[in-house]
Point group: C2
């Protein structure tokens, strides 16, 4: 290795370490409270950098959180595959339970799933969106293979199942963690008791019914 | 009517007219582009008021849009009831079609349905959240009555159906109207063609399968 190669390797290594420290800080802050409240300044402070220095590593606050969303897809995807691959056969209820448990166990990922199409994907470069989309596409292909094997789902049903599982995990998580005023309202007004949401049981019931409907077949549901 | 009663009536009337002009402006601006991009300053300019004057009529930007979300619930609810009440009997597919068509025909309402739990409900007073929640509760009760009559859904299945219909309408609308960079990406990268979403057909397929699953019964799906 020449001197300049060594320099470059060392600086590439330092850059990566910095990027990881930034992602660690964003992950910790996003895990403590809702992602919507975490600013670039908060992340920079947690890493001990100035905001302008942080922007040499990431385009925007949204790029940081979109990277964490991709990480959530990979981790949750690996967990789903591990559980599905272990099954020789499965009912819609079994698959729904695996999805609901794995998603509900990842509150930060659920929060990010709701933020991604609304905010994150809109404030990053086209390369960042592409990287993110390719991660989701890869996971959907791998898990889709298991859904086809176990339940005989079509390509379109697989995409509809993912859209429902991820959108509902995001939306239910938002409903389950309302702001302080909404929380106070639910606690004090008995007419609104129905509005309290628990992510895992409701996600389970919705996915169970969805997959039962898909596997029951009927007109228009077979392709 | 005494002089001061007349004064009060006239000022109450003027106040209501102002509130309606503000809601009209927010509705028009929200209908043109996504709600996320519409600021209080935009609304104030459109009504020809200063922002500080506008804040005498509404607490926050979010209160204005939460009022429009309640309006959407009432209008969409009336449309759903009109169609459901006309049915002597119905299959899951018929009900799914009625919901998907009515929701997809209201793009501003779909946008607001995604914004409500994430943003709108969090930046208003407890009274504003209560007013909003009671409107949704009332519509769910009325339409729930029809869903019970036509498909025999339980109370919990009715709530799950509403959570799915409204959350998916919101999420699918966000996916179907991505920002310019995501749109460019979909158009230029054939690997991502699957990510293009059409609200109505996907919402129809998901609700059709969900309601089929609910009416098929099975363990855990009957209460």
């Amino acid at each position: 290795m020449t001197g300049s190669e060594f320099q470059r390797a060392r600086s590439a290594h330092a850059k990566q370490a910095r990027e990881e420290a930034i992602l660690d800080a964003a992950r910790a802050l996003g895990g403590e409270g809702p992602v919507r409240g975490v600013t670039l300044t908060d992340i920079a402070s947690a890493v001990g950098m100035h905001k302008s220095a942080l922007l040499r590593y990431f385009e925007t606050r949204e790029q940081i959180f979109l990277k964490l969303t991709a990480e959530g897809w990979r981790e949750c995807g690996a967990d789903l595959r591990a559980h599905l691959e272990r099954c020789d056969e499965a009912t819609p209820a079994t698959v729904a339970e695996i999805f609901a448990r794995s998603l509900a166990a990842r509150p930060l990922f659920c929060d990010l799933l709701a933020q991604a199409p609304l905010n994150l994907e809109r404030n990053v470069s086209i390369d960042s969106v592409r990287d993110f989309k390719l991660v989701t596409l890869h996971e959907i292909e791998l898990i889709g293979h298991e859904l086809r094997r176990l339940l005989g789902l079509s390509e379109r049903q697989i995409l509809d199942t993912f859209a429902t599982a991820t959108s509902m995990a995001g939306a239910l998580w938002q409903m389950a963690t309302p702001g302080p005023r909404v929380r106070e309202l639910y606690a004090t007004d008995p007419r609104l008791g129905h509005a309290i949401v628990e992510v895992e049981p409701r996600l389970y019931r919705v996915l169970d019914a969805l997959l039962t409907g898909f596997t029951t077949g009927g007109p228009g549901r077979t392709t």
